[in-house]
């Protein structure tokens, strides 16, 4: 496991959970590999 610091403009922690923001990067990983970027 590695840690990364994510900077975001989604300020409301009640709406945007921290782990859900992490899920964005897991999704981004999948598409980065799909399109080999």
């Amino acid at each position: 496991m590695e840690t990364l610091v994510v900077v975001t403009t989604l300020l409301d922690e009640q709406v945007y959970d921290k782990e859900e923001i992490g899920d964005l990067y897991r999704q981004r990983c999948m598409w980065s590999w799909t399109f080999a970027l």
Binding site: K18, E20, D23, R26, R28, L37
Partner: protein, 375 residues
């Protein structure tokens, strides 16, 4: 436009020579573990984002890194990736185009693709094994022996140089995304009909990523794509930066841009928020650490966009600012001094302070010593 990434990134046919070259590359760089260690993305992990068939997509992702991609298999994988859109009656079915289809579409913009001979593919550059050039160069280049490592060539006609921030001609862009509807200005018909369950917290997620490619160095390219200032005369080659934006909801390429790496830095940086945040306040751009600079965030804030990026520094003092939880706080960034490359009007347009949220998340790392796949 939808298959720009497909056309640019997956076109070279599979050949034994290229496969062997890639196998040797992986052995030399000890990065075969990168594919083995790719974490499994289950539906539970991807909750919050549409991920109907993660296993199929994961299989595609694991093999998409290879540059030698069989065109038939490429088409099948592309269809599989787009299957959720095609199978949803409320969403228009996107058309998965072949490389030839995309090449014909780009020909209208005087941008042309052709493949390098498979035997000349360089293992590390075969990823973008297509060549793009304007019509005049297309006729002269095939007979010219290019260096092996230079697989990508592109020359922007001088008259169009300032207009080519977007690859596709404006009418085609409008057809893809610019057709406005009441209440949703700027939203394309496709995006309007995406089911709400495909959105993340009611927002479209734009995945932004880019790469840098080296170019041949004829005088035309040296003029339109100058080398970075750090290179000595006679060394190095012109560099071009390519940025693609893929929308997670409908899995299509929503925008693309090409910029010389060594020029118009502020223009390049300000253009990406424009590409990624056309729908101000409603969409979110997911970026890597390249865009974590203050200037980018201020440009995005001016245009009302939302974004998330990996911080350029791993260490962050979470004892400062407004604490929201463990490894989670809100801080205020102040506008730094104007860098030399930034125009005064662009600098003055940025707000003096910017409120951002910093969170520390833990992600699995496939292998140490390699550029992480999420950055």
């Amino acid at each position: 436009m939808h298959c720009l990434g497909v056309a640019v990134l997956g076109a070279p046919p599979r050949t034994p020579a290229a496969s062997d070259a890639w196998a040797g590359f992986f052995r030399r760089h000890r990065c075969d573990g990168l594919k083995r260690g790719l974490p499994c993305l289950s539906g539970a992990v991807c909750c919050g984002l549409p991920c109907p068939d993660c296993s199929a997509l994961l299989s595609t992702a694991r093999e998409a890194f290879m540059p030698s991609y069989d065109p038939v298999r490429h088409r099948r994988d592309c269809d599989r990736a787009l299957a959720p859109s095609a199978s949803t009656p409320t969403c228009p079915s996107p058309i998965s185009l072949t490389g030839a289809d995309v090449a014909r579409a780009f020909a209208a913009a005087d941008v042309h693709f052709w493949h390098q001979p498979p035997g000349r593919l360089h293992p590390t550059r075969g990823l973008v094994g297509v060549a793009v050039a304007r019509r005049s160069q297309r006729e002269s280049l095939p007979g010219r022996r290019l260096p092996q490592r230079h697989l990508v060539a592109r020359a922007v006609p001088p008259a169009r140089r300032q207009q080519q921030r977007h690859l596709l001609p404006r009418p085609r862009q409008d057809a893809c995304r610019g057709v406005a509807a009441p209440g949703l200005p700027g939203r394309s018909p496709l995006e309007q009909q995406v089911p709400s369950s495909w959105l993340w917290r009611g927002r479209h997620v734009h995945l932004v990523d880019g790469l840098v490619v080296s170019m041949p160095d004829p005088p035309e390219n040296q003029t339109s794509l100058p080398q970075p200032p750090g290179q000595q005369p006679g060394w190095g080659f012109p560099l071009l930066r390519l940025v693609l934006i893929v929308v997670a909801g409908h899995r299509l390429c929503a925008g693309a841009g090409l910029w010389p790496l060594a020029r118009q830095r502020d223009r390049r940086d300000s253009a990406v928020p424009h590409l990624a945040g056309d729908h101000a306040g409603r969409d979110i751009a997911v970026l890597d650490r390249y865009y974590a600079r203050t200037s980018w965030w201020r440009s995005a804030a001016v245009q009302g966009g939302h974004g998330s990026a990996v911080h350029q520094r791993r260490s962050c003092d979470f004892s400062r600012g407004q604490r929201l939880g463990r490894d989670d706080h809100v801080v205020v960034w102040r506008r730094p001094e104007r860098p030399d490359w930034m125009r005064v009007e662009a600098y003055e347009a940025m707000p003096k302070t910017l409120t951002v949220r910093e969170v520390r998340v833990r992600v699995p790392s496939p292998v140490s010593g390699w550029r992480p796949w999420w950055s």
